[in-house]
Symmetry: C2
Subunit: 350 residues, 2 copies
DNA sequence: TTGCCGATCTAGATCGATCCAAATCCGAGG
DNA sequence: CCTCGGATTTGGATCGATCTAGATCGGCAA
């Protein structure tokens, strides 16, 4: 960097213009690659830009142009590898489009979500990608963001009614189809008595996943015993704890479709404690394909949601919305893919 | 420079001022909570702000005040739960201080790091927190960011000399001490043939971790066979792939100190594939204490770096630097803590 | 020489906020 | 009634870029 540049003081268009005896306007044209400038002039300017170590001030440009070059990404839990991977995908695609990601974490608190959203809004993002906190609702979100920026909901639905005048898009996972695939897979392996294990009844994703399971069972003409639906918190620990509930009534299931991978891994622990070998004596499937799923003992059959690809998709959707602000709001449902591993064995012959 | 999209019409200070027959300046004073304004006027203005749904334009304010309210966070790998947790910590503390996080992921590519840094710089962050990509060097980083914003290096040193005139702070982990603790622990459990597994030889953190291991081995009077140092990318997949290298020469090790948790978990996978039970037939330790470490099969003995706290600390350090731009640059080394779990079994007797 | 034209370049207003100096208001004191 | 001073309020310039409308400059046909 040139030593004649005073440290700390920023170089502006005016400095460059003065440096080559041109006007601000011309230098600005050069910066934006306008064909109006003489190529000789352009070369002179570009040299001066380098010489003075000029850095473009996008905030000033955005102010004048009334545009934005950032997108807010608000996540309920960055600690969850699923969302971390999602964030990486979002950032990658936004970066390629010349946008920058404004990050905000809410830690599953609707209150913090409010605060984070309005703080980010002040920085004028062109759009918002939001994976809502657990008890967040449409009314609160609307109060926080108004109609300043288009919103893309990811992964969870919001409580309360969606406002019609705002263009809120959605990107969701195909929960129902996923568990249906898993259930059909278990049926194809020969299972007839299949349980649905884990999750909270009042969560929308749990309801959807259970519906997919029920649909597959019904399509195969199999009956579902009431005691084959066991509720538990979507954590490994609670799942291990509730394992016994699978075996209290008759007939007992030979397999279980689990709410997600965490629950499935907990169920594996619980089975081991009862002397049952998961993937040998009892079959099970998960949902999410978290990194540990492939590493489990045995490796877990599960549904891959490709979180990085979902992130890229989310970024594309919001960029598309920026391009067409008035288009109808759309709901996208991302396909999930069944990953067959060893946990989904045929029923044991004993 | 890509073309960006126009935003809907915004409410500005002028609209508020007109709405209550006051000047822009007065409204601005109200916004900033100045004691100069009459409390009756203030109430009128605040009502009008709510009525029109005003959103503060921080970019415009920052332009005039020549300040910044954002910090860039540039990470080599957000997919790694260690960095994800770190990012959550950074974002939390920055948010509490009224700053917003500009996220950038480099995916371990020094080239992308350059691009990401200069793109983020155009948005005028007040400072930068950088966990460098693997082959990044001081010269390139300097070229990208110049002296526009103070830099805090996290986790890795940069290749090449640190420029003296720039105030580059550092926050590092006590890598060497950590692996030394882990190695001493394995030795105390009775191991004599201990390998060092994973990481890239040219990464500074890998060198430091290896040095701690070597130091402990030497202090215990144990020799290190050259083929006990296996290099691999710091990912689960590559670690699983390279597992065989541990068993190609004689004498074979009975335990391994791994570069980090990702590598250790990958090694577990590789061991399982070879029919060896990690934590029974072969002992291993990790580094980072990511969430999965405690949940592994078996749970992983590792070094806790408290990534969330490191993130908070990093945010505090950069904010402090903003407050005192001229202070001497400082290097902080964060302690790590050995967490003993089941993976570090005594050597198998067979 | 004059006038027109395309190719280049530029002055000045502008985006939405802040800062500064100066104006205005209002009641007390002379 | 007028002046003075503290409490409020305000006009206009400003941050660093972009935009609009118009200036400047050769060259060439009339």
């Amino acid at each position: 960097m040139s030593s004649h540049t005073p440290i700390g003081r920023k170089v502006t268009l005016n400095d460059i213009a003065a440096g080559c005896a041109l006007s601000r306007a011309t230098v600005s044209l050069v910066l934006r690659g306008s064909p109006l400038v003489n190529k000789h002039t352009r070369a002179r300017v570009e040299q001066e830009l380098r010489r003075q170590g000029y850095v473009y001030n996008r905030a000033a440009a955005n102010l004048r142009r009334r545009t934005s070059s950032s997108i807010a990404l608000v996540l309920n839990d960055l600690t969850n590898p699923f969302f971390a991977e999602f964030a990486a995908g979002v950032d990658q695609t936004l970066g390629e489009a010349g946008f920058v990601t404004l990050l905000g974490c809410t830690g599953e608190s609707a209150t913090r979500e409010q605060a984070v959203l309005s703080s980010l809004l002040e920085h004028g993002p062109g759009g918002i990608i939001l994976s809502p906190a657990e008890h967040s609702n449409a009314h609160e979100v609307l109060a926080a963001i108004g109609t300043q920026a288009p919103l893309l909901l990811f992964n969870r639905e919001l409580g309360g009614a969606m406002p019609e005048f705002a263009h809120w898009d959605q990107l969701m996972l195909d929960n129902q189809h996923g568990t249906r695939l898993a259930t059909e897979h278990l049926i194809a392996r020969g299972h007839r008595r299949i349980a649905f294990f884990g999750g909270h009844l009042d969560s929308s994703s749990c309801r959807q996943r259970h519906a997919g399971y029920a649909q597959a069972m019904q399509a195969a003409g199999l009956t579902i015993e009431p005691h084959w639906r066991i509720e538990c918190a979507p954590t490994r620990l609670d799942a291990a704890h509730q394992t016994h509930a699978l075996f209290t009534g008759t007939p007992t299931p030979t397999a279980a479709v689990c709410y997600n991978d965490a629950v499935a891994l907990g169920l594996m622990l619980g089975l081991n404690q009862r002397g049952l070998r998961p993937g040998k004596d009892f079959a099970l499937t998960g949902f999410d394909d978290i990194a540990e799923a492939a590493l489990g003992m045995p490796p877990l059959t599960t549904l891959s949601t490709a979180p990085r690809e979902r992130g890229q998709q989310a970024a594309q959707l919001i960029l598309q919305r920026l391009h067409e602000p008035q288009a109808d709001s759309r709901k996208t449902i991302a396909a999930v893919q069944l990953i067959v591993r060893e946990s989904s064995c045929p029923p044991s012959t004993t």
